[in-house]
Structures are given as structure tokens and as C-alpha cells.
């Protein structure tokens, strides 16, 4: 993706040249969770109740990267790799155990209010719409929370409507919306305050092909025409192929690849495939072995793979018994 994007105009504010708005820096970002683990053996439940065993789990282990303003980066990895935890540290929801994180020149977990003005997020099927309100009312309330005036609100919602076709269902209460409709409204909700950075944690999970394509078109527009930085986690490789030029692969809490998609393809293509034309799902299968089924969102038994090189082996040993659901990405 290009780094220099056109300035935003109209309902969306412009950006001053030379500012780092939209830039993300992570240095040695680490997150350790303490979990109470159940002991093996008879009466384990009672023993764990009386004397719980606390175990430290490293969900993210020394992750470093930098994302330039206006980039769309796909953050990929199997379940429990640490993608969502990393994103939640970037948003400021989670406080890192160690390391440095800066988004838009701010430390997100320390400057939450200022950070919230510049970032938006959609966390999979978790909706921020009010269950009993029509989607438009929820958007209006969120606009108030973000201090967006009524005129700007109308302009922005109209702009979202042009691609996401929200007007067809925005008078329907959130509880009655289909998944695809709800996520489209959530995308609008995440962008109502015109943030420079957008985090999307599996936004298209469970959607049909038509709606997925609509969402992709919307995201392309946000990056190419609005100059937003987008960090996307997904199990859908078609999405990655259509949207991202740069991918960050994470496994066992560590980055195992950070670069452009074509290099990744070239490194993992079969000899009889022309360079850069390898199917991305095949590339992931070759890169992650059996763990690729998790990365691709397929139901399969997960087995740790050490095919991703030196760092993976160490992390694999460290995280071999990591509870998958707790750390699921």
C-alpha cells in the first residue's frame, strides 16, 4: 500500500503534512497473563478451589513492527497466536506487560481519551450498537459520545451509506439485523468520528460472499481515498489477497514474517508455480503446516508446528500448553 495518501476532505477532516497521524510503532511488545490452572489428578477441582495454582502465560512475546500512515496490514496467525491480544494492546484496552507502543504519537493505554479520538475498532461479532435501538439511533448516540455535530454526522453516514448500503436497514433495531448488516453498521460506528487508524479483528467472519465483497470495497475506499491506516486480522485469505500488500504473520506470540505478500508467496511457492502467483492458502499451508487449518479458519485438530523457524521453536515450547480459547485470536 502506498504510504502517501491523499488528504481527506468533505465530511472527513484533512491531515496536516508531516504529522505521524495513522502511524503505529510497537517495540518488544509483550503481554503475560496469569491464569489459574487446574491441577491434574483426583479431586483436582476441589484442590484448585482451595489452593489455586497461578501460571503465567505469554500471549505476546516481544513483538516489534512499524506501520506507516495509510497502510493496510493483515495480521495473520493461527488461533491463540496472539493477534487479538496485540491489537488490543494497540487500541489501549490491554496494558502491555513490557515493551513500547505508540499509535498516532500517543501511548494508547496511558492516553485513552486522546487515543480514542483517533482510533476505531470492530471486534468480530462483538457489536457496539445498542440492542434495542435502530442502527441509525445507535450511530447518532455514538456520534454524540465522540462529539460529532449533527451536520457532520449526516454527511458521514451518507458517505458510509453509498458503499455499505446502510439505509436499507438502518431503521431496524440491532437485535433484528443479520450478521452482515450488523457488522456493516459496526464499521460505520467505528468510523463515525473519522479516526486515522482502524482496527478490524475478524470483521467478515460468518458473512456471505456478497457482503464480504461489499466490506472489502469499503475498506479499500477507506485506505485509498480516506488515507486511513487499517490493521486487519482475518482467517479469510481471499480478503488478504484483495486488500493487503503487507502481511505480518504471528505464531506463539512472536512475529515470524513481516513483509509484502509477493515475497511471502515467492518464498513458499512450488517450483512449478510462477513467482508470486502461488495460491495464498497453499502458501499458508506450507508455512504453518497443520496449524494452517486454524489460520484459515478450518476446523481441524491443532498441532504445534516448528516449520516457521528458530523463533517458533522456542515459543512453541513456551506455549505448548497455552489454553487456546483464552488466547484465541
Amino acid at each position: 500500500m502506498n504510504i502517501n495518501r491523499p488528504g481527506r476532505s468533505g465530511a472527513f477532516g484533512g491531515r496536516a503534512a508531516g504529522q505521524a497521524e495513522g502511524g503505529i510503532t510497537a517495540e518488544n511488545l509483550t503481554k503475560v497473563f496469569h491464569v489459574s490452572a487446574r491441577r491434574p489428578g483426583r479431586f483436582s477441582a476441589v484442590r484448585s478451589l482451595i489452593s489455586p495454582q497461578r501460571v503465567a502465560r505469554t500471549a505476546v512475546d516481544g513483538v516489534s513492527f512499524q506501520i506507516q500512515p495509510g497502510e493496510l496490514v493483515a495480521f495473520l496467525g493461527p488461533n491463540g497466536a496472539g493477534k487479538s491480544t496485540t491489537i488490543k494492546m494497540l487500541t489501549g484496552i490491554l496494558t502491555p506487560s513490557s515493551g513500547r507502543v505508540e499509535v498516532n504519537g500517543l501511548v494508547p493505554h496511558r492516553e485513552r481519551i486522546a487515543n480514542a479520538r483517533r482510533v476505531g475498532a470492530v471486534f468480530g461479532q462483538r457489536s457496539q450498537l445498542w440492542w434495542d435501538l435502530p442502527a441509525r439511533d445507535s450511530l447518532s448516540v455514538l456520534a454524540d459520545i465522540h462529539g460529532v455535530g449533527p451536520e457532520l454526522f449526516r454527511e458521514r453516514v451518507a458517505a458510509f451509506d453509498r458503499i455499505l448500503e446502510l439505509s436499507a436497514f438502518w431503521d431496524t433495531r440491532a437485535r433484528q439485523l443479520s450478521l452482515g448488516q450488523r457488522v456493516r453498521c459496526d464499521l460505520a460506528a467505528a468510523l463515525i468520528h473519522d479516526p486515522a487508524v482502524l482496527y478490524l479483528d475478524e470483521p467478515t467472519i460468518g458473512m456471505d460472499v456478497v457482503v464480504k465483497e461489499q466490506v472489502r470495497e469499503f475498506l479499500r475506499d477507506q485506505v485509498e481515498n480516506r488515507g486511513r491506516t487499517v490493521v486487519l486480522t482475518t482467517h479469510d485469505m481471499t480478503e488478504v489477497e484483495r486488500l493487503a500488500e503487507r502481511v505480518i504473520l504471528i505464531n506463539h506470540g512472536q512475529i515470524v514474517y513481516d513483509g509484502d505478500l509477493s515475497t511471502l508467496r515467492r518464498n513458499h511457492s512450488d517450483t512449478d508455480e510462477p513467482d508470486g502467483n502461488a495460491d495464498l492458502e497453499d502458501v499458508m499451508r506450507r508455512a504453518f503446516g497443520r496449524q494452517a487449518s486454524e489460520l484459515l479458519g478450518e476446523r481441524a485438530e491443532s498441532e504445534s508446528s516448528t516449520r516457521l523457524g528458530g523463533t517458533g521453536e522456542r515459543a512453541g515450547a513456551q506455549n505448548a500448553d497455552k489454553p487456546q480459547a483464552a488466547m484465541s485470536s
Partner: protein
């Protein structure tokens, strides 16, 4: 692939230009308009409005008949006549209506946000979670107060309840009730904040409701309890939320004793405000919303905890 191919960093993470402005840390006043969510949510669900109305009417009617029956054979009990006792009990019912909003049905209470992981969005708004909770509570209170006020006016004009013994007593009761609502807000906030440690707080809410209703005099007026109990209860924050304002209203407590009750309430509000600030700070540092589609439970009975 065997090598880690990190994207070239410009320098070693050179600090980006800070973009703070004076307005950055300021929380938008427009955010208070979000308090309308309660009214909108209820009005889109007419079933809930009807059930709130039905509940209020049934409770008021049963309470009225109960106290009429209790005073059928006596003119005075514990120094109160039938009208005073009925007024006290009915005002108690209307006061409880202030908390009539069914947040559970609207999927908008703290437990549900914790369980579903949507609490994450509270930390992604330019309004602190603490203020957002307050805005929500004000919306709930405003909505509940409308119900209470309508019921009060209806009962007062039909002569079911008595007006305050004097204008001064009415004003003192109103002031005391306002402080009582602030106390209730902080108590409920602390119960909700427990979700950051326990995820669910249902049992805690039940315990709190029982203690609150008994010690505030909502179930039985406190003058029916032994003197030592009343003396002990006077030091707690509960009595000021119901018994004190209603006693002032019906003339059971003289207005000149109002200052003492006010001091106890003000002290409790200060204590609870400081406590809730500290607890919010701890809760914000330990919020753990995990996973793209699942959270909290790792499937083996253990829950993740932020070590901080």
C-alpha cells in the same frame, strides 16, 4: 521460511510527533446526550413499558391494601397513624420505581458487557468508562424518576397519600432523597465494578438488594426494629437512601434533625466516591477482553488475569 523478516523500521522506532491538542484530554459535553439511550430503548419496547406500569400499579395497590389491613384494628402503631404509614410505604414503592429500568433485557448491564467482551468498546471512546457509566445511570434515573413522579402525582391528587407535613419538610426530604440517590449510584457502581474481578455479580446483586431493602427500611419501616439496630443502622449509608427522606416527609423525623442525617450522608458519599475512583482505576488496568470470538474462559475452568 526460516528467517524473521521484519519490516525495516525507520530508525529504531523513532518517536513520532505527538499530536496532542488541548481538546484531546477533554471529554465531550455532547456525550451527555447518550443518556437518552434508556428512554429510547424502553420506548421501542412497549412490552417493557407496559410491564413497568403493571408492576408499579400492582405493587402500589398491594402495599396500600396491606397497610390499610394492618391499621384496620388500630388507629396508631409505633407513633404513626394509618395515613402516615401508608404514605411512607407507597413513597417507598415509588422510590424503588426509580430503579425500574430493565438493563438485562436491553443487554446493557455491566455483567453482559463483561461476558460478551463488549466492555472493550467502553475503553475506545473519548469519554472515560467511569463517566460513561455515570451518563447511563443518569439516563436510567431520569427515566425511573418520571415513573415515580407520575405515580406520586396520581396518588397525591387522589388522596391516597398525604402531602409533606410542611414545605420545609418536603424540601428537606427532597434534598435528602437526592443525596440518597447519589449514595445508591455509588453502591451500585461498586457492585458492578466487582465484575472486573468476578465477571458475574448476580449473587452479589441479590445480597446487596436484600441488605439495601432491609437496612433502608424499604421492606419494613425502621421504627419497628429494636433501638440498638436503629442506632447501628444510622451509621450506615442505607438509611439515608429511603428511611430518612420518607421520615422527614411524613413528619416522623423533625426537620431540625435533618442536618445530622445530611452530614452522615455527605460523609458516606465522599467515602464511596473516593473508593469508586480507586476501584475504577484498578479495574481499568486489569480489563481482560481476549480473543476474536471467545473470551474469559479457556474452556478448562481457568480465567485469564492481567497481573497488574
Amino acid at each position: 521460511m526460516s528467517e524473521v523478516a521484519l519490516n525495516p523500521m525507520t530508525g529504531s522506532g523513532a518517536p513520532q510527533a505527538p499530536l496532542r491538542t488541548l481538546a484531546d484530554g477533554r471529554q465531550s459535553r455532547r456525550a451527555w446526550r447518550a443518556a437518552r439511550v434508556t428512554v429510547l430503548s424502553e420506548f421501542y419496547e412497549w412490552g417493557r413499558v407496559a410491564s413497568t406500569l403493571g408492576m408499579l400499579v400492582i405493587r402500589a395497590a398491594l402495599t396500600y391494601w396491606l397497610w390499610q389491613a394492618l391499621y384496620a384494628t388500630t388507629k396508631s402503631s409505633a407513633g404513626l397513624d394509618s395515613r402516615q404509614a401508608t404514605t411512607y410505604a407507597l413513597l417507598g414503592v415509588f422510590y424503588v420505581a426509580f430503579r425500574a429500568v430493565n438493563r438485562w433485557a436491553a443487554r446493557d448491564n455491566m455483567v453482559q458487557h463483561m461476558l460478551e467482551g463488549t466492555i472493550a468498546y467502553w475503553f475506545l471512546r473519548p469519554v472515560s468508562p467511569r463517566r460513561f457509566y455515570c451518563i447511563k445511570a443518569c439516563g436510567d434515573l431520569g427515566y425511573g424518576a418520571c415513573w415515580g413522579a407520575i405515580a406520586y402525582i396520581v396518588c397525591l391528587t387522589t388522596g391516597v397519600i398525604a402531602p409533606p407535613v410542611s414545605a420545609r419538610a418536603g424540601l428537606a426530604a427532597l434534598a435528602c432523597m437526592a443525596l440518597g440517590l447519589v449514595t445508591l449510584y455509588y453502591l451500585r457502581l461498586l457492585i458492578d465494578l466487582a465484575c472486573f474481578w468476578t465477571v458475574v455479580n448476580n449473587q452479589l446483586v441479590i445480597m446487596y438488594e436484600i441488605v439495601q431493602n432491609v437496612l433502608a427500611g424499604a421492606l419494613v419501616p425502621l421504627w419497628f426494629f429494636p433501638a440498638w439496630f436503629a442506632a447501628f443502622d444510622r451509621l450506615l449509608p442505607f438509611q439515608g437512601t429511603l428511611n430518612v427522606p420518607l421520615s422527614l416527609y411524613i413528619g416522623r423525623t423533625p426537620v431540625n434533625q435533618f442536618a445530622g442525617a445530611l452530614e452522615v450522608q455527605a460523609l458516606w458519599i465522599a467515602i464511596l466516591a473516593v473508593l469508586s475512583t480507586l476501584v475504577w482505576r484498578r479495574a481499568s488496568a486489569r480489563v481482560t477482553v481476549l480473543g476474536g470470538s471467545d473470551d474469559h474462559d479457556d474452556g478448562r475452568g481457568s480465567r485469564t488475569r492481567d497481573p497488574r
